[in-house]
């Protein structure tokens, strides 16, 4: 097997292992978002869009420097999207290679796509998620393949369980696998069906014609130091041209389009004369760069991107200032703890789904259009699906662009994401006089206060706003069917671009410390609320 293939497989394995390790508790010797940080499109577009360089993404800049020397090696050697497409090509690609049907104009498309995304980024709207190969492939494996494999593994456990019980292997007998479920599966499915189906048109169709990160690499690999060289032994047999997955070898086999060449070295292996080698040299014939002479189209694409951003900024759902009136904040848009203020958050979020994959309770879900087009596929807390576990801070640790700030567990407790409110006419205690109060039972911050009031035989719940972190345990566990009788909204969410959540929370008078760690004295008789009976019975007891 070629060295390139081995490295490529190893790279995919590392990518998948890191994606698997993006979970709670976070145990990984290296950053689980490493591959996402390697994407130069993420680096450049997020820099433009957020108007600040994100230090974690500098490694992508380093990769571009390497590209100046080694060419577009990333695409063939490291890119997990590239190898996935290689596999699809092998499975469904046609034997006959009709790449010549596609004109140079189509391979220019990726530059236009790149210009569009960068234009939109300059206009303040991040469309990185449409084209970033690492964002795409993270979603594909994290939000589509992983849930499917989890389901299969879970079914597998059902089969092995009787055996495990018979042979007394409790670890296996009691193993449970949570099956994550994600909204908007169709988006990922359709996108990847299209990308994989293009295998029938040409190998690496995405990489050749569409990938904006590939376009960025291409710009940096027009005259790399490591180049394809063809010596005089070449018989012009033409074997190398159809073998090239990128169509980078023109009619004259002595020439190479370096911006298209991904250094996979297939041509070296197929050449019967052994005439091809990759060596460090500035010699060798260079074919002209394809894109010259079409600057006009490029500029128009960039401007179209800016235009798209401007249109998007006039959307009804755009919220430039969170606290002012006249802006529509959809109640379901509960952002993860530590998410930057909304506009900055959306400018940085590349919709890779890493936080959603890592979320242990599956509460982080991709959003549809509730925050406008600019917020498509961004993560939201979905309490009815799962609560935000107070002891977990994984989403804040795995975000490659720091759209969700990295928070220590102690800080995370103070990152209030919303506030719960009770829908009294659905509540079992308020409306039906039933002993329920699961909300009180499960609330980790003790924000539910039970009070006895006139005309109701059981104690009824109230939300103490200052103690509510918006974690959604109450909404998740509320036994009321269909819509919960206690609901979290992003009301009073704390969104800080910088500074300590704990400090801010204390300033605001929040009481979010998880107090259970140490014994503490609470007053024996709870304070009486309005309408509460004097000398009230403790909650749950009867006279």
């Amino acid at each position: 097997m070629a060295v390139q293939r081995i490295v490529q497989i190893a790279s995919l394995c590392l990518f998948l292992v890191l994606l698997f390790l993006a979970a709670f508790p976070l145990v990984s010797p290296i950053a689980v978002d490493l591959f996402l940080r390697l994407d130069p499109l993420v680096f450049l577009a997020t820099w433009l869009c957020a108007r600040s360089i994100i230090p974690d993404l500098m490694v992508a800049a380093l990769l571009l420097v390497f590209t100046l020397i080694l060419g577009r090696f990333f695409c063939a050697w490291l890119c997990p999207m590239g190898i996935t497409i290689d596999v699809a090509d092998r499975l469904i690609g046609k034997k006959v290679n009709p790449e010549k049907q596609f004109s140079r104009a189509l391979s220019n498309f990726k530059y236009l796509f790149l210009a569009f995304i960068l234009g939109a980024a300059a206009g303040g709207i991040s469309l990185v998620f449409l084209g970033s190969p690492l964002s795409l492939i993270t979603r594909f494996y994290g939000l589509l393949v992983f849930p499917v494999l989890s389901l299969l593994a879970s079914l597998g456990l059902n089969v092995t369980r009787p055996l495990a019980e018979a042979f007394d292997v409790p670890a296996l007998a009691y193993a449970e696998i949570n099956i994550p479920r994600y909204a908007l599966q169709w988006f990922t499915v359709l996108l990847f069906t299209a990308i994989f189906a293009c295998a029938v048109l040409s190998p690496r169709f995405w990489c050749r014609y569409l990938c904006p990160a590939g376009a960025l690499f291409a710009v940096f690999s027009r005259r790399p130091f490591l180049r394809r060289q063809v010596n005089r032994a070449c018989t012009r047999c033409g074997a190398c041209q159809p073998a090239c997955p990128m169509g980078a070898i023109p009619e004259n086999p002595f020439q190479t389009e370096h911006s298209e060449c991904i250094v996979c070295q297939k041509c070296v292996h197929v050449c019967p004369a052994g005439a091809i080698s990759f060596t460090f040299s500035s010699a060798g014939t260079v074919s002209e760069s394809v894109f010259s002479g079409q600057r006009r189209a490029l500029i128009w694409s960039g401007l179209a991107g800016v235009g798209a951003a401007i249109v998007s900024l006039t959307s009804l759902k755009t919220i430039p200032l969170a606290q002012s009136s006249g802006y529509l904040i959809d109640p379901v848009v509960i952002r993860p703890p530590g998410a930057l203020p909304e506009m900055e958050f959306l400018a940085r979020c590349i919709r890779c789904g890493e936080c959603m994959k890592a979320c242990p309770t599956n509460t982080l879900q991709p959003l549809g259009l509730k925050a406008g087009l600019a917020g498509f596929f961004s993560p939201v807390i979905t309490p009815r699906r799962g609560p935000c576990e107070p002891l977990c801070n994984v989403c804040t640790q795995v975000c490659p662009t720091d759209a969700i700030r990295s928070l220590t567990p102690d800080e995370k407790i103070w990152a209030k994401v919303g506030t719960a409110y009770i829908i009294k006419h659905k509540c079992l205690a308020w409306e039906y006089d039933q002993e329920c109060l699961i909300c009180d039972e499960v609330c980790p911050t003790n924000a539910i206060e039970l009070k006895r009031i006139d005309n109701i035989n059981v104690a009824v719940p109230f939300v103490e706003e200052r103690k509510c972190s918006g974690c959604g345990f109450c909404e998740f566990q509320c036994p009321v069917q269909a819509g919960s009788a206690i609901v979290v909204e992003p009301m009073h969410a704390v969104r800080l671009a910088s500074g300590s959540y704990r400090k801010k929370g204390r300033e605001m008078g929040l009481l979010l410390e998880i107090q259970a760690r140490e014994k503490q004295e609470t007053p024996s008789a709870p304070a009486l609320g309005p309408g509460q009976k004097f000398n009230a019975l403790p909650p749950g007891f009867t006279e």
């Binding site: 449970e176 002891l391 109060l437 039972e441 069917q481 259970a516 760690r517 403790p538 749950g540």
Partner: protein, 308 residues
């Protein structure tokens, strides 16, 4: 209720008389244990958690009275919350470990320590799992999935006529409940009876479809522990079941074969929200007593206290 008491009394008297007759006939040739039979109904031991657990069991005749060699034992502590020992929201891991140790000594063939936690199990069961690691047996688990529960009908139920209970319960010979003593917002207290909800899959139906206290009693007509050991080493006196609340250091272990009596004893012994409560003020205890599951009139029972 009257009839039940009479029957119990009758049984007790007959067994006791039978025993005395046998003892009289066989004389000193009989083992000591049998002569000393007629154990107290409730044992209360005060001391460090582990020692007190052992002492309470000694009062009741030792674990070998409940666990026979070869028995499969299911231990049901409260492992539903991530609070840790000081929060008093879950059973003290030392108490659970001591119970497991005693079961091992009695020759149990398999021991499982299971619960259906409210939060993610790695957060909730870790304390008990760590404490039980010495047995090297991988016995502590939190179960959530449907596959671990089997649908059963509850013939004596008034409302909860069927539910899914842990398959391990159905497979076991002996069930030992080891709840922590704490308040509960909707049921007053959460002790051994309320704790049986940790062995079922769908608890929410007990809240929204049925009367919670009635369905707890329904459940307890099916899930009857052979032995109840209430961990009152710390008592969560307010804000239960999740806390944080006022924690009382009581250093007490209550043991009984009667889950209603054990729960009633705990209700009477401790302060709840700064008040003294009667067992009848806990609806599910009162209902259980009325339905003959056990006795809440502990003033009429034989209670033995020891200090270690």
């Amino acid at each position: 209720m009257r009839r039940m008491l009479d029957r119990r009394q009758f049984l007790k008297t007959s067994i006791m008389s039978a025993m005395w007759l046998t003892a009289g006939g066989a004389g000193p040739g009989l083992p000591k244990k049998l002569i000393a039979a007629g154990y107290p109904d409730i044992a209360i031991a005060v001391g460090k958690p582990e020692q007190a657990t052992g002492a309470a069991l000694d009062v009741l005749g030792g674990m070998q009275r409940f666990v026979k060699p070869g028995d499969k034992v299911l231990i049901k502590p409260n492992m539903s919350f991530p609070g840790g020992v000081l929060s008093a929201t879950t059973t003290n891991p030392e108490v659970v470990r001591e119970v497991v140790t005693m079961c091992k000594r009695s020759g149990a063939s398999s021991i499982r320590v299971l619960d259906h936690p409210l939060r993610r199990d790695e957060l909730c069961i870790e304390g008990v799992r760590e404490a039980c690691r010495i047995f090297n047996d991988d016995m502590v688990h939190g179960l959530y999935k449907k596959d671990f529960f089997k649908a059963v009908s509850i013939p004596d139920a008034e409302q909860l006529k069927e539910t899914r209970v842990m398959r391990d319960y159905l497979d076991s010979d002996v069930l030992i409940a080891v709840p922590v003593a704490k308040t509960h917002g909707s049921t007053g207290v959460s002790l051994s009876m309320k704790g049986m909800m940790g062995l079922v899959l769908n608890r929410s139906v007990m809240h929204w479809k049925y009367d919670l206290s009635t369905s707890i009693v329904d459940l307890c007509t099916l899930l009857k522990p052979a032995l109840v050991i209430i961990d009152a080493s710390r008592v969560l006196s307010t804000n239960g079941p999740g806390g944080p609340g006022k924690v009382l250091d009581m250093n007490t272990i209550i043991a009984s074969t009667d889950m209603v009596a054990a729960d009633a004893q705990a209700v009477r012994m401790f302060e709840w929200y700064g008040r003294r409560m009667q067992p009848r003020q806990v609806k599910h205890i009162e209902l259980a007593h009325q339905r003959g599951l056990g006795r809440m009139d502990i003033e009429n029972l034989m209670v033995k206290r020891v200090q270690v």
